[in-house]
């Protein structure tokens, strides 16, 4: 045990906690070749992030139901586990054992492929979500661009399932989802572009690092307040949450493209929408709220306490605080999304498109140009 710890501590390098290197060192210490150690390491972060996403969804579903209940002066789920904490599990289990129905006149291949195509890009996007300096699956160079690219696969899946269901409500829902995703992707990308311009990098790690030079004062939300609002509105529209839930508007379209789905296929949609909500909140916190950064720089606290920031224990503490901060910020945004759900009425489809094309798009363009001008004028504050 002590030797393991030692190996872990030795492997902690100056760039911060890196579990991959320590894991590989440990396996090589046992006597395995480095290629096999690398192979054994690969599935670990993937499984970890996948289970983190799923647990995040369960927590979000529970929060959604509890907060909705509180906003409406109800109690909400109460009997499944303490405070109803097991309710999402019960829901999931129910969906798991339900009969899988494919309508007779539906296109069964596209009908089955639809939910898969919706869920996979969302899960894949977790690849670039950082929880700490080295706590992400892969620090790909194109980073945030990968997420934008992946999120434009989703409307294809939605349209596919809406069309394949052979149902008027499904088709309308699918078309609405496609129209909505397309018109909100552009302002979203432009808002991201302004952030990218300030950090000179598409990588999520660099974006966060650039924000954590002076604690919470250097967070992007203060440099990009309009960008933050645009991004949040677009993220809500991409997640199809109220006030932008027209694709599944239950009062008019039954359940939109989900109408004909039951059992596990419906569960995939359900899972996808909640994973997407958590993912969007995570990305808002990464892009605008300093990601894993503590409001006061941890290095500063460590220096005041007379500890070296490179001390292994300090690094482990820093890593765990980073994860906690990311999760805390994310759930704060999830809470805001739920609160918005019970505050705002649903917009009409023409209002939705008006808002996207006539308001958000010009504003985000102006924001981008303004950021560029500020970057030229004040390179110190705007990442020259």
């Amino acid at each position: 045990m002590i030797t393991t710890l030692n190996i872990v501590f030795v492997a902690v390098v100056n760039t911060g906690l890196d579990l991959e290197i320590s894991f590989n060192h440990f396996l090589e210490g046992i006597g395995l070749p480095s290629s096999i150690a690398h192979l054994l390491w690969l599935p670990l972060p993937m499984l970890l992030v996948l289970s983190a996403a799923l647990i995040g969804v369960l927590v979000t579903v529970w929060l959604e139901r509890k907060i909705s209940a509180a906003a409406q002066q109800r109690i909400g789920p109460e009997y499944a586990g303490a405070l109803g904490i097991l309710q999402p599990m019960a829901d999931g289990l129910k969906l798991l054992v339900k009969e899988d129905i494919i309508p007779q006149k539906a296109d069964s291949l596209l009908f089955t492929l639809g939910p898969v195509l919706v869920l996979i890009p969302v899960i894949l996007s977790w690849l670039i979500v950082p929880f700490g300096q080295n706590l992400l699956i892969s620090n790909v160079g194109i980073g945030i661009f990968l997420w934008i690219a992946l999120s434009s696969i989703q409307p294809i899946g939605l349209l596919m399932s809406g069309y394949a269901s052979n149902n008027k409500y499904s088709l309308l829902g699918g078309l609405r989802a496609a129209a909505q995703s397309i018109s909100y992707e552009i302002p979203l990308a432009l808002a991201v572009l302004a952030v990218v311009m300030m950090s000179n990098s598409l990588s999520t790690i660099d974006i966060v690092n650039q924000q954590n030079t002076a604690g919470f004062l250097s967070w992007n939300i203060f440099r990009q307040p309009i960008g933050f609002l645009i991004f949040w509105i677009c993220a809500l529209a991409e997640c199809e949450r109220l006030p932008f839930d027209l694709p599944e508007a239950e009062e008019e379209l039954v359940a939109g493209y989900q109408t004909e789905y039951a059992g596990m296929k419906f569960a995939l949609f359900y899972l996808g929408s909640y994973i997407n909500l958590v993912l969007s909140s995570l990305l808002v916190s990464v892009l605008y709220l300093g990601g894993w950064g503590f409001p006061i720089p941890i290095e500063l606290i460590a220096n005041i306490l007379g500890q070296s920031a490179n001390d292994p224990i300090i690094q482990i503490i820093t890593g765990s605080i980073g994860i906690m901060m990311t999760v805390f910020k994310t759930y704060l945004l999830v809470f805001l999304a739920i609160l918005l759900r019970w505050t705002t009425p649903r917009v009409r489809i023409d209002q939705l498109l008006d808002l996207g094309w006539k308001f958000l798009l010009p504003i985000s363009l102006v924001n981008l140009l303004f950021t560029a001008a500020l970057k030229l004028a004040f390179p110190v504050a705007f990442g020259g």
Partner: protein, 203 residues
Amino acid sequence: MVNFFEKATDYTRNAISAGKYLLQGLAVTFDHMRRRPITVQYPYEKLIPSERYRGRIHYEFDKCIACEVCVRVCPINLPVVDWVMNKETKKKELRNYSIDFGVCIFCGNCVEYCPTNCLSMTEEYELAAFDRHSLNFDNVALGRLPTNVTTDPSVIALKELPYLPEGVMDPHELEEGSKRAGKLPSEVLTNKKDKAPIGEQKK
């Protein structure tokens, strides 16, 4: 050019006011979160029905004279009064009486017009059944008294809104012996007596 700036300022002003209203709405929603749930947790908590609640009808077989007034005043002639004429005594002999609560609309006309007061309204409202024919109550079933919400040990009885003290909206955790807003009819009567007794007023 001036026109453009006017438009731009209007646009911004509209956007800002929309944002302001949105924040106002968010504040309202947020404020609701700290309020206590007003829901009644039904099988465990129940509201006390009001005095004039028109629930399942109670019937006293021995008081009934089989006059069939209840049938005549009923909008759908629902009560079934099964009687035979005893020719020796020249009196009606009641054999059976039944009301189908799957059809009854609980209007209370029968109760209103019953000459011997053998019909009355109870506060029972839990009439769900697996078979609608089991809602056809005969004179024995009609003669049963419902369990009172206030005396049922497995139920927490809650007062309805008009029976709560003034300013109180939440029936949970009421103080012992707290009274409803306003005066009871009996209190109004005693007050009138104190001022000017009713008998003397006439003189």
